[in-house]
Symmetry: C2
Subunit: 258 residues, 2 copies
């Protein structure tokens, strides 16, 4: 086990420490998806006509996430540049003393937030793939599980800002021409490594198999009893997590010389 | 994977389905502990002198848990008899239409809540065993992780009400004499099965080893890199989770004939 948890500062963040953070975040994402899959789809959490909240036009999941983000904002969650709210408008300011988070990113980073795209993808595409039909009435717990998934995915995706910063710092000459000409396609090409992406996809599938198995004292992994399908998590990374991370990287680099 | 998630009703809850729920909850508990261990101890989340919230006498963790429980209460979380708040006083009522949760428990169950004991144990004893020293400023995220651990442990422990109900229903004659004489010790004896408890301890250690390993594509579990110590989770179950569950069972049975 780790003896100390290091706090990164701009001098010690390297491609390797960034990579370690992304790999650790995979575990968080997979745990949160497995936990969401405990509940059925539970449309009551999303359908305003089924579970109306008096004097409020939000669905239950919107209501609970807004209230939860507000409480966390008051306690300083979004002072950390790794964290991004889903409902930034009207979020209360932090009530607690400022913590001196290391200044690693270019100030333009603060304007990049792709959570609205993540929200769409999560509810419209991912959720039906990891849940079964049904309604067990646990709408609040379901919405809390959704938020855990969304926050983990959001942290992974927006960590692209740090990935981009470290890559830029390591070889600015490689990126500067494309940044100066604001060439998105060229930047995307520079940031894409297919063999690395293939390994990520295989690793998250392996983790899903290990973490989602039914463990007993007698036998080993019983694949028929996996809590979520490893292929779905590979697909999640291939179609959404890695493309959105690279989108964040590109958006960041486009502003890196501002 | 499961094709449907069954909603238990009083006729279909058996010792086996109760046991399956307890085993599934082990995974949730271990995931949440692993996630809490991502952060150092972060005393700023607990020490009012370090992180004071203006016009509030609560610590940051108390503040955020009260606000979060209030939001979840408005969305009906505590309408489910499996859920128990840590701060029940002044909790808002549910704003959403009532869900028809199956009526399985004796009404006296509603008065049993051992969360204040769990709170003490968690912060004073467990937390120092699963975290490393340090301060990374993520107090809100740390407190949210604490709440996830507390809620998972609370659900497991209070599930003792269902365990006791099912055991009572299966052989009331076994429990009635001790209930009538309000004999706690006799009830505790009836509810204790050492060989079962040994198996639980070994199973949670095995799960901690599997879920807390650093997974790579090349090799297998590297025990030196485990995220939390399996022996700590075994001890958590031995010293706190199983005794508190049995305490809930005893409290429930003492009121079962009221």
């Amino acid at each position: 086990m780790a003896d100390v948890i290091k706090v990164a500062d701009s001098s010690e963040m390297t491609l390797e420490t960034v990579r370690d953070s992304l790999i650790r975040e995979e575990d968080t994402i997979i745990f949160s998806l497995i936990e969401r899959a405990k509940y059925p789809i539970n449309v009551g959490a999303y359908d305003k006509t089924k579970t109306a909240i008096p004097e409020c036009s939000d669905s239950l999941v919107e209501f609970i996430i807004k209230e939860t983000e507000a409480a966390q904002a008051k306690c300083g969650r979004y002072e950390n540049p790794e964290e991004h709210p889903f409902f930034p408008d009207g979020l209360p300011t932090s009530l607690v003393p400022a913590f001196n988070f290391p200044k690693i990113l270019h100030p333009a980073a603060a304007s990049i937030n792709v959570n609205s795209t993540l929200w769409e993808v999560y509810f419209a595409q991912l959720l039906p793939l990891i849940t079964v039909p049904g309604d067990d009435g646990n709408y609040a717990s379901t919405a809390v599980s959704d938020l855990a998934c969304l926050q983990a995915l959001s942290r992974r995706i927006h960590y692209g800002k740090f990935v981009a910063e470290v890559k830029f710092k390591e070889s600015p000459q490689e990126y500067e021409p494309a940044i100066r000409s604001q060439d998105r396609d060229a930047l995307m090409k520079l940031l894409t490594f297919e063999s690395v992406e293939e390994r990520v996809k295989r690793r998250v599938a392996k983790k899903t198999m290990l973490f989602g198995q039914e463990v007993s004292l007698n036998d080993n992994c019983d694949e028929k009893k996996l809590k979520i399908d490893p292929a779905v998590v590979s697909r999640l990374y291939e179609e959404w997590v890695m493309p959105l991370t690279k989108l964040v990287e590109v958006e960041y680099l486009l502003r890196r010389l501002d």
